[in-house]
C-alpha cells in the first residue's frame, strides 16, 4: 500500500520531538488548568441541591475546541510544523499532483487533529466521569473539533499561500481569522460556534419539550464546517496551481477554473 507522502510525513513527524509537540503540550497545560478551575468545588449534595451539573467537561471541550483550532491555524500558516514536515510551497514544487497534495494535506491534518484529541483523552475522561453527560454527545463534540480544526488549517494554508513572504502579516491574519470566526460569527450564527455546540450538547439539559424536537446540533455543525472545508480546499488547490503555474499543471486547470468561474 502506498501512503501519501504528506500523510507519512505526519506519521513520522508525530513520533519525533519538536517545537510543535512542545507547543501542543502548552495547550494541554491550558486544558489542565481549565479542568482544575472547573473541578467541582462542592460536594454532590450541593450539586443536587442547586440542580446544576458540574461544568468541567463543558469547559474542557470548549478549551479543546479553541486550542486545536488555534494549533491547526498556526500549522496551516506554517508558523509551526512537525519535525521534517515540509510546507505547501515546497510540495507545490514537487511533481506530485495538486489533488494528491490536497488529499494528503487533509488526511494528514485529520490524523494530527486526532492525535491532539487523543492527547486530551485522559483529561476528557476525568471530566466526563464527574460531569455526567452521554457518550454520543461527547462524540459529536469531538468530531466537531476535528472538522473545525481542518477548516482552520485550510484557512491558515490559504493565508500562508497568499501572504507567504510576509511572516508577521500571516501571523496577524491568522489571529484575526481566529478571533473573527470564533467570536462575532459565533455570536451571529450560533450553529457555527463550537462553544455554543458544546453548551447545547454537554451543558445542563433543559427540561424536555414534548412539542419541539431540535435538529441534531452536531450534525449541522459538522456539515457546515465540512462544506466550508471543501470550499477552502478548493481555494488551496487553486493557490497551489498558481504556485506551480497554470500551464504546467493541466490536471488541476479544470478545478481552478471552477473556483474562479
Amino acid at each position: 500500500m502506498v501512503i501519501n507522502p504528506l500523510v507519512s510525513e505526519v506519521i513520522t513527524g508525530l513520533a519525533r520531538p519538536g517545537k510543535a509537540q512542545l507547543d501542543y503540550l502548552g495547550f494541554l497545560l491550558v486544558q489542565a488548568v481549565v479542568v482544575f478551575l472547573w473541578w467541582p468545588k462542592d460536594g454532590i449534595a450541593q450539586a443536587l441541591q442547586s440542580q446544576h451539573t458540574p461544568r468541567t467537561l463543558l469547559a474542557l471541550v470548549m478549551a479543546v475546541g479553541v486550542t486545536t483550532a488555534y494549533f491547526a491555524l498556526r500549522a496551516g500558516t506554517e508558523v509551526l510544523a512537525l519535525p521534517g514536515q515540509r510546507g505547501l510551497r515546497e510540495w507545490a514544487r514537487t511533481p506530485l499532483p495538486a489533488g494528491s497534495i490536497i488529499r494528503g494535506y487533509i488526511v494528514g491534518q485529520l490524523l494530527q487533529g486526532l492525535h491532539l484529541v487523543v492527547l486530551s483523552t485522559p483529561l476528557l475522561l476525568m471530566a466526563f466521569v464527574i460531569s455526567g453527560g452521554e457518550w454520543p454527545a461527547l462524540g459529536w463534540c469531538l468530531a466537531a473539533v476535528l472538522v473545525q480544526a481542518l477548516f482552520y488549517r485550510l484557512c491558515g494554508a490559504i493565508t500562508c499561500l497568499s501572504l507567504g513572504q510576509h511572516r508577521y502579516a500571516v501571523i496577524n491574519t491568522a489571529r484575526t481569522i481566529m478571533v473573527l470566526v470564533y467570536v462575532p460569527v459565533g455570536l451571529l450564527a450560533p450553529v457555527t460556534s463550537h462553544p455554543a455546540l458544546a453548551y447545547r450538547t454537554l451543558g445542563e439539559a433543559l427540561p424536555p419539550d414534548p412539542f419541539f424536537t431540535p435538529m441534531p446540533d452536531g450534525l449541522a455543525f459538522v456539515s457546515i464546517y465540512a462544506a466550508l472545508s471543501v470550499l477552502a480546499a478548493l481555494a488551496v488547490h487553486r493557490l497551489l496551481l498558481r504556485e506551480r503555474g497554470m500551464k504546467n499543471n493541466p490536471d488541476g486547470a479544470g478545478v481552478g477554473k471552477a473556483i474562479s468561474g
Binding site: I44, P54, L119, G132
Partner: protein, 639 residues
C-alpha cells in the same frame, strides 16, 4: 305531503334497524365513595373499561393534575396499570389518587401501542365536598340525619362494599365507618387488609349489634371487636333511659348483645351491661355498640345524632410545641452523609501533573536508539491511551459511580398492640447522566407524592406511578444531577411488642421482635437516660432490668439522638438524616417530640422496607431506616 310520508316511514325504519354505534372502548369511573371526595386527601378511584373492539393489550392511565398555578407550574401525576382485555369483555381497576385542585379534570385514558384508544375526562368540581366522611356499610341503617347541619363537618355516605379501597390510604377522607348487618367476609383480602391498616393507623370503626349477632362471630370481625357476643339480653327501660336519655322511647322491650368477656373500655353501660365498648387497635379504635342502631327505639330517637357525633369524632390531638425549624430534606442529608463525593482536587492535580510530566519528558528527552524509535512512534499514541485508561480506573465508575442512584430514609413507628407499623419514607432519585429514571421497587407499597420542598418551590416534575409487572415511579424530568424526591406513607406488617415498667433503680423492659427482620443498635430512651439494648434478632424475646446508674447514659430532649451514632458493627453513622426525618414526623403529627411525656422510646435501625427491584436492582442505593417506637411507661408494679 302524501308522497313524502312513505319516505319518512322508510327512513324511520332504516334508522330503527341500523345498529346502534357504540364506542369500541367504554370507560366509566367512580371517584371516591359514591362519586364524592374531599380535595387534598387520598381517595379511591374505580375505573371500569369495557372493550367491544378487538383484543386489547395496553395500559390504563389516570392523570391527576396537582400544583398551584399561582405559586408554580402545575404537574401531572400519571398512574398506570397494565390492561389486557379480550373482545367483548370488561375489567375494573382501582387506583388511589390525590386530587388537589378542582380546576383541571381528571383524565382517564386507555393507551395501546403508544396510541390513545379511549379517553374520559371527569369534572371534579361537582364531586367534591369539604366535610369528612362517615361511611355506612349496612343494608338498612339510615344515618342521613347526621348530614343535617354542617357544624360537625361530617357527610354520611353509603358506598357499595365492593367499591371500598384496596389501599388503606384510600380512607384518607374518612372519619369513621359504621358497620351493621354485614359480614366483613364480603370484602376481598386487600380490602380487608386496607380496612385493618386504616384502623391501626388511627381510624374508627363502629359496629352495631343486633339480633343476627353471628355476623360478629365471623373471623374477620371477631379479630377486631373487643368481645364476642354470646347471646341477647333484655335491658329494662329505666336503666336504658338512665344510660342514654329520658327522651328514649322504652315502651317496648329492648334487647342488646350480651358480652361475657371483652378487652377494652366501656364507654357506656346500662347497669352491668355494656352498651358501647371501645377497643384500641394500634392508634385507632373499634367501637362495639351492643344495641341495634337500625331498630326501635334507636332509629327514631332524636339523641342518636349527638351520640354518634360524640363517639365518632376523633380524639383531640395536643398542639405541638416543637419548633418548626426543619426545612432540610432527609434524603439530601443522607446523600451528604453517605453518597460518594466527587474525586478530590489533590487526586486530579497529581494525575494531571504526572501525565503532563510524562509527555514533557518524552518530548524533551527523545530516544536516540534507532530500533527504539519505532517503539517511540507508537508511544505517542499509547501514552495518552494508557493514561486515559488510568483516568477511567482512578476517577471512573469504581471510584465515582455513574448512573442512577436511589436514596431512601424511612421512619418506622410500630403501633402499640398491633401487628402493623406506620412507615414514612422519603425517596430520592438522581442520575449523573440524562435519561429515563424509572425506579422499580418491592416491599412496602406506599402512596407517594412530590416532596414538600419541591411543592414549596413550585418546580415539581410530572411523575408516572406505574403498577404494571412491578411497582415503579418515574419522573418525566430526565436531566442529570437533578434530585427528585417523593414522600410516601404506608402501613406495613411489623410486629414489635414492648413493655416498659418504671422501677426504682431504672426501667425494666420486655421486648419481643416478630417484625421479620433484626433490629440493630437498639436503645431505650426513658426518664432522661438512654440504655443500650444492642441487636434484637427476629423472633427474639428479651427481658432486662436496667439500672440507671450502671447502664444509663444521661441524655436530654435533644442529645438522645447522639446514641444512634454507633452501631453493632462499630461503624460511625451520621444521625442528621434521622434527626431531620424524626423532626418532620413530630411536626406532621403535632407531637411534642420524641419521646413524648410519660413515654419511653425504643429506637434502632432496621432494614429499609422499600428496596430496589427488577431493573433497578443494580442501582447505587443508600438507605437508612429507623424504628421509633413510643411505649407508654407503666408504673412500678406493686408487690
Amino acid at each position: 305531503m302524501q308522497r313524502a310520508s312513505p319516505v319518512i316511514v322508510l327512513l324511520g325504519l332504516l334508522l330503527l334497524l341500523s345498529p346502534v354505534r357504540a364506542d369500541p372502548i367504554e370507560i366509566s369511573a367512580v371517584v371516591g365513595f359514591a362519586d364524592t371526595f374531599q380535595p387534598g386527601r387520598w381517595t379511591p378511584l374505580h375505573v371500569s373499561v369495557r372493550n367491544r373492539s378487538s383484543d386489547l393489550n395496553g395500559e390504563l392511565e389516570v392523570q391527576v393534575t396537582g400544583g398551584d398555578e399561582l405559586r408554580g407550574r402545575r404537574f401531572v401525576t400519571a398512574h398506570r396499570r397494565t390492561l389486557q382485555l379480550q373482545r367483548n369483555s370488561a375489567k375494573s381497576l382501582q387506583f388511589t389518587i390525590l386530587p388537589q385542585g378542582l380546576s383541571r379534570p381528571l383524565v382517564i385514558r386507555v393507551v395501546s401501542n403508544g396510541l390513545e384508544q379511549a379517553r374520559k375526562e371527569i369534572d371534579l368540581r361537582t364531586l367534591s365536598i369539604a366535610e369528612r366522611l362517615v361511611l355506612v356499610l349496612s343494608p338498612d341503617v339510615d344515618l342521613d340525619y347526621l348530614n343535617e347541619g354542617t357544624a360537625h363537618g361530617m357527610r354520611v355516605l353509603h358506598p357499595h362494599p365492593e367499591l371500598l379501597p384496596a389501599h388503606w390510604r384510600g380512607y384518607d377522607a374518612v372519619a369513621a365507618i359504621v358497620l351493621h348487618g354485614m359480614s366483613l367476609e364480603r370484602l376481598s383480602a386487600p380490602q380487608f387488609e386496607a380496612l385493618h391498616k386504616w384502623i391501626a393507623q388511627g381510624g374508627t370503626l363502629a359496629v352495631s349489634g343486633g339480633p343476627d349477632y353471628t355476623l360478629m362471630r365471623r373471623p374477620r370481625l371477631a379479630a377486631l371487636l373487643p368481645g364476642l357476643p354470646v347471646g341477647m339480653t333484655k335491658i329494662d327501660g329505666e336503666t336504658l333511659q338512665a344510660a342514654f336519655s329520658a327522651s328514649l322511647d322504652v315502651s317496648r322491650p329492648v334487647y342488646v348483645n350480651r358480652l361475657d368477656v371483652f378487652h377494652g373500655d366501656v364507654r357506656l353501660r346500662a347497669g352491668t351491661q355494656p352498651l358501647i365498648v371501645e377497643r384500641a387497635v394500634g392508634l385507632g379504635r373499634v367501637l362495639y355498640l351492643t344495641f341495634d342502631v337500625a331498630s326501635p327505639p334507636f332509629n327514631r330517637w332524636d339523641g342518636m345524632s349527638r351520640l354518634w357525633h360524640s363517639h365518632l369524632s376523633p380524639p383531640a390531638t395536643p398542639m405541638s410545641s416543637a419548633p418548626k425549624t426543619s426545612t432540610e430534606n432527609p434524603v439530601l442529608a443522607l446523600i451528604r452523609a453517605e453518597a460518594t463525593d466527587f474525586p478530590r482536587y489533590a487526586a486530579a492535580f497529581i494525575f494531571l501533573a504526572l501525565y503532563l510530566g510524562t509527555l514533557l519528558a518524552a518530548y524533551r528527552f527523545p530516544i536516540r536508539v534507532t530500533q527504539s524509535r519505532r517503539v517511540a512512534s507508537l508511544g505517542v499514541w499509547f501514552t495518552p491511551v494508557i493514561f486515559a485508561s488510568a483516568a477511567w480506573v482512578i476517577f471512573g465508575p469504581g471510584a465515582f459511580p455513574r448512573g442512577p442512584t436511589a436514596v431512601a430514609v424511612a421512619v418506622i413507628e410500630p403501633f402499640p398492640g398491633s401487628s402493623y407499623a406506620r412507615l414514612n419514607i422519603d425517596l430520592g432519585l438522581y442520575a449523573s447522566h440524562s435519561g429515563m429514571l424509572q425506579f422499580q421497587y418491592a416491599g412496602a407499597e406506599p402512596v407517594m407524592y412530590p416532596s414538600r420542598e419541591e411543592l414549596r418551590r413550585g418546580d415539581v416534575p410530572d411523575w408516572v406511578v406505574s403498577d404494571a409487572t412491578r411497582r415503579a415511579v418515574e419522573p418525566h424530568d430526565r436531566r442529570r444531577y437533578v434530585l427528585h424526591v417523593l414522600e410516601g406513607a404506608d402501613v406495613i406488617a411489623f410486629r414489635l411488642d414492648a413493655v416498659v415498667h418504671e422501677e426504682a433503680m431504672g426501667p425494666r423492659v420486655i421486648l419481643e421482635n416478630n417484625s421479620g427482620s433484626a433490629v440493630d443498635g437498639l436503645w431505650l430512651v426513658f426518664g432522661g437516660h438512654a440504655y443500650e439494648l444492642g441487636v434484637l434478632a427476629d423472633g427474639a424475646r428479651i427481658e432486662r432490668a436496667l439500672v440507671r446508674s450502671r447502664h444509663g447514659v444521661e441524655v436530654d430532649a435533644a442529645s438522645w439522638l447522639g446514641v444512634l451514632k454507633g452501631s453493632a458493627a462499630g461503624q460511625a453513622r451520621d444521625v442528621t438524616p434521622i434527626r431531620v426525618a424524626l423532626e418532620r414526623r413530630v411536626q406532621e403529627t403535632n407531637r411534642t417530640g420524641y419521646p413524648g411525656p410519660g413515654h419511653a422510646l425504643l429506637v434502632g435501625y432496621a432494614a429499609s422496607p422499600l428496596r430496589p427491584a427488577g431493573d433497578s436492582a443494580g442501582w447505587a442505593h443508600h438507605e437508612r431506616a429507623v424504628i421509633a417506637f413510643q411505649v407508654t411507661a407503666r408504673e412500678k408494679a406493686t408487690p
